[in-house]
Every structure is written in C-alpha cells, then in structure tokens.
C-alpha cells in the first residue's frame, strides 16, 4: 500500500480532509503535511474578519495524518480489499498550542506510535510550520475498526 492508497482509504472528503501528502510512513510513525487553503470553510467565522485556523482543526489535522493514516498503514494487510473500510473514532487528546496558523500556511505533522493494541492507537504528535517552528504538540488516541 503506497502513500496515495492510504490517502484514498481515508474516510474523509472535502471540506474536512486535512492531508495533502505523506512523506514517510512506517510501523513506528508517520510524517505528513497539509496546506490550509485561503478559502477553508471555517475562516468565515473564526474569527470575524480575522481568519485563524481553529485549534480543533489543528488537532483534527494531527489526528488525520498522525493517527488515521498511520492506523490504515498498520492495518494494510486487512484492508487491501476494496470492500473493507476503516471506521475511526477519536477517544482522547491532550494538546498544547504555541503558534497560530493563518490561511495559506503549510504545516508538517510528525507522529510517533506509543502503542497499537486491540484496535486502539495512541500517538505522540506534533505540528510545525514552514519555518520549522513548533505550532502544537501532545497525545491523541483513537479506535480503528474495520467493517
């Protein structure tokens, strides 16, 4: 399963897909990126006349790249057939935020697996901006069930 296959298996679509490319992926972690487009739907209201990417969206971006893409990779042998799809649920997260992300900014997400047991994936995740400055970091856990 290559990186394009993984992105195609994601259970998201626009306007809620926050993965552009996966740069590296292995049993232990993943590195990927996303550029926030100028016209993302949430900029209209967050904030009034002052568009800044919401923290929940930064968390979502780290979860999509860091947990869901990695989870699909880890389960690649089971989901190589077309019929089986990954169903995901966020179960917990604990994130600290350091810098804002504005429209047109590119971010890179790094995720390291803490454990993947009994369909629960827990990762240490962090996001950096194009200057390689820390944007946010923490831990995210989720369940991945194949149906």
């Amino acid at each position: 399963m290559n990186q394009e296959d993984i992105i195609n298996k994601l259970p998201y679509s626009k306007p809620f897909l926050f993965v552009d490319n996966l740069i590296e992926i292995s049993e232990n972690g993943v590195l990927g990126n996303y550029t926030f487009k100028k016209n993302e739907f949430f900029y209209e209201g967050h904030f009034k006349e002052n568009p800044i990417t919401p923290g929940v969206i930064l968390t979502e971006t780290m979860a999509q790249i860091g947990l869901v893409c990695l989870g699909i990779f880890l389960l690649k042998d089971e989901i190589s057939t077309q019929e089986i799809k990954p169903h995901v649920a966020l179960t917990s997260n604990n994130i600290d935020f350091y810098l804002p992300i504005l429209p047109n900014e590119a971010v890179t997400v790094t995720s390291e697996k803490v454990y993947f047991r009994f369909n629960k994936l827990k990762c240490n995740v962090k996001m950096t901006n194009s200057k390689n400055e820390l944007v946010c970091r923490g831990t995210i856990s989720g369940m991945i069930i194949l149906k």
């Binding site: 047991r117 856990s141 369940m143």
Partner: protein, 84 residues
C-alpha cells in the same frame, strides 16, 4: 495473590475510567465493566494495558475477548501467573 487482593488492585486500576459511580461503589466479582461501570471499549484497552503492567502478564486477543467482568479478569490473571 488471593482473589480479594486482585480485586482491590483492579478497583484502583479501573477507577479513572468508570462512568457509573454507583456501580463502582458496589464493585464485586460479578461487576461487568461495560454494563455496570459504563466503561467504553477504548478505556477497556487502557485497563488491559494497566493490568499487564501491574500483574506482569501479557494479555492476548483471546484473553481480551473474555475480559468483560471482574471475575473473568481475576481468572485470566491467576491462569497467566500460574503458567509463568
């Protein structure tokens, strides 16, 4: 380790994950994690990982499927510890 000692240790492990306080007050051998304590499946994984550390055992998929009540966990712990 006696059954009672195991149950005391299990109570400490499950406490952070329970949603039903009443069920936790009445914890016994017959307590069902999901029905009586309203522990979700994600937190059940956390409990299993804590049980592995606390009792120095490895829980495999077959054992995980059986870990539904305090009684079944006590049995699994005793069985794994005696086989080592």
């Amino acid at each position: 380790m006696t059954k009672e000692e195991i149950i005391i240790k299990l109570s400490t492990i499950v406490k952070p994950y329970i949603q039903n306080e009443e069920g936790f007050k009445n914890i016994s051998e017959d307590t069902d994690f999901m029905n009586d304590l309203e522990i979700n499946s994600a937190n059940l994984v956390d409990i299993v990982l804590d049980v592995e550390d606390e009792f120095n055992i490895i829980i495999d998929n077959d054992s995980m499927d059986k870990m539904l009540t305090i009684k079944s966990v006590v049995e699994i712990i005793k069985e794994k510890q005696s086989s080592e």
